[in-house]
């Protein structure tokens, strides 16, 4: 494992006191490697923002330990702030300030900032450079917030729902930007409730629910975890399933739900795929429409909690995976 830039150990954060206290984060642990993208994925109210804001030094932990770049975010605030970039979930700018004016201000607080014009151009904000913040669209505000987080050339950025409210094109552009940051050695922690974002971008995903991590790993590890993936193919009806099952590793199962349609259930990896095709070759079977169906992080979340990651009302349309269920 590479150098760790964030270590959160058994974090507990409560709001309020006494009987009305609400536990927002309840024994959460995570680590972030340098020059990686780490996604904290979970539904609204899971404790994502509280966790990230504790790393940013906004909140005192009620329990556990938080270390960011080896520093205590509250006690070592002055030393830490110049080294990190922060994007809040909303706001962060005066209503009358102009886009470029705001970005230039944050740039002036740093020793070696990025070129403000280049950054505006990269984020497609040049046309609204002189627009007051109150007249910016939601997407433009998000992009300005992202620009403000990275203009100081930080080592580590915390982005709270960086692409919420962006149209698909702007979202892809923001993802590409985050990948460029990682390419150049910046470590990124982001919260999201978009599973595509976590799957597409993250090296490491922490699935959070009710203030604690319920699963973690790379997107591949998470989506292939357990015996939940499937391999489908078509072939002649009435194949000898017992012979195929015997050829497969322990714990795999094969079914023929409808004649000629076969489903292999188990940890589908390249080795298992090779075993199935080898068995087909030995038995003179031409497998057709062979397809591995990977489960998405959203399926993982549903399996773990029995709930949807994003409430149906908030689902963006045409996500393309709803049809499967």
């Amino acid at each position: 494992m590479g150098e760790l830039v964030v270590e959160v150990d058994d974090l507990v954060v409560r709001y309020g006191r006494g009987r009305t206290a609400v536990t927002a984060v309840d024994g959460l642990s995570l680590v972030v490697e340098r020059a990686s993208i780490t996604a904290i994925l979970g539904p609204n109210g899971a404790g994502k923002t509280t966790t990230i804001e504790t790393c940013e030094g906004y909140r005192h932990p009620n329990g556990g330990r938080v270390s960011v770049l080896g520093l205590d975010p509250v006690r070592d605030r002055k030393a830490l702030m110049p080294r990190i970039g922060v994007m809040l979930q909303g706001g962060g700018a005066w209503s009358g300030v102009r886009t470029k004016e705001m970005l230039r201000h944050i740039a002036r607080l740093h020793a070696h900032p990025l070129d403000v014009d280049v950054l505006l151009d990269r984020l497609d904000l040049t046309r609204s450079a002189r627009t007051p913040y109150r007249r910016l669209s939601g997407g433009e505000r998000q992009k300005l917030g992202l620009a403000m987080a990275i203009v100081g050339r930080p080592e580590l950025v915390f982005l709270d729902e960086p692409t919420a409210g962006l149209d698909p094109q702007a979202r892809r552009s923001a993802w590409a930007l985050l990948e460029e940051l990682r390419r150049d050695g910046v470590s990124i922690v982001l919260t999201t409730h978009y599973m595509e974002e976590a799957e597409r971008l993250a090296d490491q995903v922490y699935v959070v629910d009710h203030g604690t991590v319920i699963a973690s790993g790379s997107p591949d590890e998470l989506t292939s975890r357990g015996a939940s993936n499937t391999l489908r193919f078509r072939g002649p009806t009435g194949l000898d399933l017992r012979s195929l099952i015997a050829a497969l590793p322990e714990g795999c199962d094969v079914r023929e739900p409808t004649p000629g349609n076969y489903v292999v259930l188990g940890p589908i990896d390249p080795h298992l795929l090779a075993t199935v095709t080898a068995w087909c070759a030995t038995n003179g079977v031409l497998a057709q429409s062979l397809a591995v169906e990977r489960h998405t992080l959203e399926d993982v979340f549903l399996d773990l909690t029995g709930r949807e990651l994003v409430p149906p009302a908030e689902q963006p349309r045409n996500r393309g995976r709803r049809e499967r269920r």
Binding site: G90, G92, A93, A111, A176, D184, G185, V186
Partner: protein, 266 residues
């Protein structure tokens, strides 16, 4: 439009402290002067009061119905400008900075809270300087004849600074504890009460005798009364001025202590 490799290579670091504070002060000044409501409060209202008070026929200001009204009015309007900028305007602007997450966002920047406050003081100082220059210029053009004691100018400046020092923590106290909309109402309301009932424009002895001691201890009363005494004809009355400055510093200390304990940044 991918950026060249190395564009974002980390190079963290804070800017020099003075650069951060000056940048912040100048930005806040620009934002304030760009805001129509703030400009109305900072410049239009004081100047209109000054011109109307001096020129409107038949008005009685502290027993003076003729040309010498400016001798009473000008120090009062100067006190008003200090109050509008370092209390009302500061409270409203800071409350909305809290509401819009500006304070929170800047809290995660290299600018420290002390630096942020210093920047705010620069903005307040610059706006007050502009106000004082304009008010004095207009008053002189209208025929104001300030006292001739050469000490009156530095003493008046000291009073303006002490007044600012008293009102800033009061403005922050309001901004740091109440919702932005409530601050908007309260900051304007308190300003109006102090203008009308706090010996800002009228001398303390124009108020009912039983209220006079109380009014003299208000920050508005102490500031405006001190300015009226200092800028009127005759030598500076050092004892009286010291008394007003002590009242202002007492307000600064008390409000500063409460604000430091209660201010919520986000």
């Amino acid at each position: 439009m991918t950026t060249p490799e190395g564009t974002f290579a980390p190079a963290p670091g804070r800017a020099p402290v003075q650069q951060m504070i000056v940048a912040h002060g100048l930005l806040e000044t620009r934002l304030l002067l760009r805001n129509g409501e703030q400009l109305l409060l900072a410049l239009v209202i004081p100047l209109v009061l000054l011109v109307a008070g001096a020129l409107a026929p038949g008005i009685d200001i502290a027993g003076k119905t003729t040309g010498d009204r400016l001798g009473v009015l000008t120090p009062g309007v100067l006190a008003l400008t200090i109050m509008s900028t370092s209390f009302t305007s500061l409270a409203i602007a800071t409350a909305f900075e809290r509401r819009y997450g500006v304070l929170k966002r800047l809290g995660a920047s290299p600018l420290t809270r002390t630096g942020l406050l210093a920047g705010k003081l620069i903005a307040i100082g610059l706006v007050e300087l502009l106000q004082v220059v304009l008010v004095v210029a207009v008053a002189l053009a209208l025929g104001w004849q300030p006292g001739s004691d050469p000490a009156s100018i530095p003493v008046a400046a000291l009073l303006l600074v002490a007044g600012t020092w008293a009102f800033v923590p009061l403005g922050l106290l309001l901004a740091g504890t109440v919702r932005a909309e409530a601050v908007l109402a309260a900051a304007n309301g308190i300003y109006l009460v102090l203008v009308a009932g706090g010996a800002t424009l009228l001398p303390v002895d124009a108020y009912p005798r039983v209220l006079q001691p109380l009014i003299g201890f208000l920050p508005s009363g102490a500031l405006a009364e001190g300015l009226r005494e200092t800028l009127s004809a005759g030598p500076v009355a050092w004892g009286d001025v010291a008394g007003h400055v002590v009242v202002l510093l007492a307000w600064a200390l008390a409000a500063g202590l409460v604000t430091a304990r209660t201010f919520r940044w986000h």
